[in-house]
């Protein structure tokens, strides 16, 4: 079967990763940033699966990792959303440009 090669997947996931980073860098809404993080995580998971599929098919490790990633993503978004709610309650908005208590 002539299918897509490993490189194709890798380049694609790199691209997806860059999209996620771009979102991280430019979005001003915390929730939107969180969604960008999900993109990044997906890009990483895709890499795992790609390596598993093309290089280490017998070794189940590469396939198991995305499961962990999903679990971690779940935990992460739970926490992040809780923080967002708390922040919103406190400041009534979610602009990251104003969340600068780490300044200087």
């Amino acid at each position: 079967m002539i299918g897509p090669t490993l490189s194709q997947y890798l380049v694609f996931s790199a691209l997806l990763f860059c999209f996620g980073l771009y979102g991280m860098l430019t979005r001003r809404n915390l929730i939107a940033m969180l969604m960008s993080v999900e993109l990044i995580l997906n890009a990483a998971a895709l890499n795992f699966v790609a390596f598993h599929h093309f290089l280490y098919e017998g070794d189940v490790g590469g396939a198991v990792f995305p499961v962990f990633i999903i679990a971690v993503a779940a935990a992460e978004s739970a926490i992040a959303l809780a923080i967002i709610i708390a922040l919103f309650r406190h400041k009534n908005q979610l602009d990251v440009q104003d969340a600068d208590s780490l300044k200087n």
């Binding site: 860098l25 940033m33 990251v96 969340a99 780490l102 300044k103 200087n104």
Partner: protein, 687 residues
């Protein structure tokens, strides 16, 4: 340890050790318990070692004459498997002679100090230091290797420092001790370099090894890569620099007159009889080495002759009683050096004469100093213009002082006559006629200034009645040593000295002892010498026996010349100028500036630039997540780009960039300094 079968010689190592123990005990444990225990312990220690050394001397001169014995030897410091610094005890005629001189005079001076130092708050300290000095001096004399002699050499220097600075709350004494130490230290630098040369090219430090003909030949044939100079004269001259420092040869003599700030017994012991002859002793120890090189001997002779004349001239104008004696010591040391310089391996008369004069000089000069101390003790002044007519209140001091003056003036048949005559004869026989003439002149000058001193102090008339009335003879502990010392000052010349002392290890050089034995009095030389001495005395009598205006008029007539001599040819001022202005201001201060402003400034500059850059960058630190993220990603990208672009030469690039940066920083900092724009970091406010 190689036993020699003679008890005293085998136990000669106790001779330096006993005073050392005395020093430890007195210095550590009896500082607070008054005068008596301190002085008794110190005198006990030195007395015991005196007895031991006389025993050893007896054994040596009766049974082992001319032999070189090594009763003790051990490895002290291993530089490399082939170069080993040994320590031990070397017994030959000059070392035995010197320990006799040192222990005896030291013992007498300990006794004398008991009276002289009475009531001084530093009494126990004084005795501890005296013992330390005696230990060092004896260790020096008995040294087995040149390394060992260097060690004790330094120790002697330190004890001298401590003793000159004994009255340490007197600023002049402080300056004097500092000066003495630093000047001799400077000379020791030469010695140290000589030691290095000898150690590297000679591959050994032991005297026996160094003075063997093979080593000397080896040294002579080795040439330095630079200029192709032979190593032998170089090492000889370098070592001589050390000797000249300790023996206060011109131009390193400046510390000795100042050293008179110490207590008088110290002047007598260290700066007249023993320590200052260490230089002479060192040259004598290495004499075969010097004798093999024309340049070395010439240096010794010329500097010796010049110093003796130079100091004698100065001595005629001084008024401080101890300084006159100090310059006289300088002059006599020059005499001894000169005498060594005219000797050769084939005609070692000068060597013997030098050792002979060293011995007799030790006796009469110690006597002179102790006498002067007795006078100072009585009138509480050093200035001869405050004295006069003291022969009546101080009869014993006067009598012994006169003997010493006659001895040093070379009046027959006192000891000085014989030793001086031998030196003159040696100079004549060596065909060094200029030196002979100088020595002759110095003999006359010596007699003149000594009797100038004598007449001004004991005759004339009392100039300060108050002092005169309070003057009284010193206690027995002080006069006893005077009387004891007067005996050898008179009779020591009658000892057939050349029978006992000559160049060691003659067997190496194929000269038999019997060959040297004869030296009678050559009246063609001795006669004029005595005449010179008597003339000097007569001149002093005319000028100073009764107070009159003639000396003042003569001084006035010579005007600037007199002033020049009176101020010791301004050598001190020259040194002072050099150290204070040149070294301190033009070398040391710029270095300090450089360190503070350029080197440290550069470091500060880095910090400051970082801070300023930080302040700039700070505006970009917004506290916002995204900014941080942006920069971290950019950093990663840049690192990645570097790895991508540059291959294996990163290290070189980094190293040279670093070096270049350091250089740039210095230059930049220097420019900032010049523009007065640099800001030390401390001024930046901390937040």
């Amino acid at each position: 340890m190689t036993s020699t079968g003679f008890w005293f010689i085998d136990h000669l190592w106790l001779v330096p050790l006993l005073p050392f123990l005395g020093f430890l005990v007195v210095g550590l444990f009896v500082q607070k318990s008054g005068e008596r225990p301190a002085s008794s312990l110190a005198i006990l220690a030195i007395g015991a070692s005196m007895v031991l050394s006389w025993g050893a001397g007896w054994e040596y001169f009766t049974a082992n004459l001319g032999r070189t014995l090594v009763p003790l030897k051990f490895e002290w410091l291993r530089f490399s498997p082939t170069l080993i610094g040994n320590m031990g005890v070397l017994v030959d005629n000059i070392s035995v002679l010197l320990i006799l001189v040192v222990t005896t005079i030291s013992f007498l001076i300990h006794v004398y100090s008991q009276g002289y130092m009475h009531g001084d708050p530093g009494y126990p300290r004084f005795f501890a230091c005296l013992n330390l000095f005696t230990f060092s001096m004896l260790g020096l004399v008995l040294s087995f290797s040149i390394l060992q002699i260097f060690i004790f050499w330094e120790l002697v220097g330190v004890s001298s420092f401590l003793l000159i600075g004994f009255y340490w709350n007197k600023p002049s004494a402080v300056a004097a001790c500092k000066k003495a130490f630093i000047v001799t230290r400077f000379a020791d630098l030469g010695f140290l370099l000589g030691l290095l040369v000898i150690g590297y090219y000679g591959k050994g430090f032991d005297f026996i090894y160094l003075t063997s003909p093979e080593t000397i030949k080896n040294l002579e044939q080795t040439r330095l890569p630079l200029l192709g100079v032979s190593v032998l004269p170089l090492s000889a001259i370098l070592v001589y620099a050390g000797a000249a420092g300790k023996s206060a040869m011109f131009p390193l003599h400046i510390w000795l007159p100042d050293a008179m700030e110490g207590p008088t017994p110290v002047s007598a012991l260290i700066h007249a009889a023993t320590m200052v002859v260490a230089g002479v002793y060192l040259v004598a120890r290495l004499f075969p080495l010097y004798a093999a090189t024309e340049a070395g001997l010439m240096t010794v002779m010329v500097i010796g002759a010049f110093t003796s004349l130079f100091a004698a001239v100065i001595a005629t104008t001084q008024f401080d009683i101890k300084r006159v004696l100090a310059f006289s010591t300088l002059s006599q040391l020059g005499y001894m050096m000169l005498s060594l310089g005219v000797a050769t391996m084939d005609n070692p008369l000068g060597f013997t004469a030098s050792m002979f004069h060293l011995t007799t000089h030790a006796c009469f000069k110690a006597l002179l100093f102790l006498g002067a101390g007795s006078v100072i003790h009585a009138v509480h002044s050093n200035d001869m213009r405050d004295m006069g007519g003291l022969r009546r209140p101080l009869p014993i001091t006067h009598a012994t002082f006169l003997i010493a003056c006659l001895a040093i003036a070379g009046v027959p048949p006192l000891s000085g006559f014989f030793s001086k005559d031998e030196i003159l004869a040696a100079a004549w026989n060596g065909e060094h006629y200029v030196v002979f003439a100088v020595a002759m002149l110095v003999a006359g000058l010596t007699a003149f200034y000594m009797f100038r001193l004598y007449f001004m102090t004991f005759w004339s008339y009392p100039k300060d009645m108050h002092r005169f009335e309070h003057a009284h003879e010193s206690p027995l502990s002080m006069t006893f040593p005077l009387m004891v010392l007067a005996v050898p000052s008179v009779f020591l010349g009658l000892v057939p000295f050349s029978h006992y002392v000559s160049i060691g290890q003659l067997e190496h050089h194929g000269v038999s002892i019997g060959h040297l034995e004869h030296h009678g009095i050559n009246w063609w030389i001795a006669g004029p010498a005595s005449a010179m001495g008597l003339a000097g005395i007569a001149l002093a009598f005319l000028l100073y026996f009764h107070p009159n205006g003639v000396p003042g008029k003569i001084a006035f007539a010579f005007g600037p010349l007199h002033k020049l001599v009176y101020n010791k040819f301004y050598v001190d001022e020259l040194y002072l100028f050099f150290t204070k202005s040149v070294i301190f201001r033009f070398i040391s201060a710029p270095f300090a500036w450089f360190d503070r402003h350029l080197v440290d400034g550069s470091m500060d500059w880095i910090a400051q630039t970082t801070l300023l850059a930080g302040n700039k960058v700070r505006s970009s630190v917004t506290g916002r997540l995204q900014t941080y993220l942006f920069w971290s990603i950019s950093g990663a990208v840049i690192l990645g780009a570097i790895v991508w672009q540059i291959g294996g030469t990163v290290g070189w690039t980094l190293a040279f960039t670093g070096l270049g940066l350091v250089a740039m920083m210095f230059i930049w900092q220097f420019v900032l300094q010049l523009l007065n724009r640099s800001e030390p970091l401390k001024r930046i406010k901390q937040d």
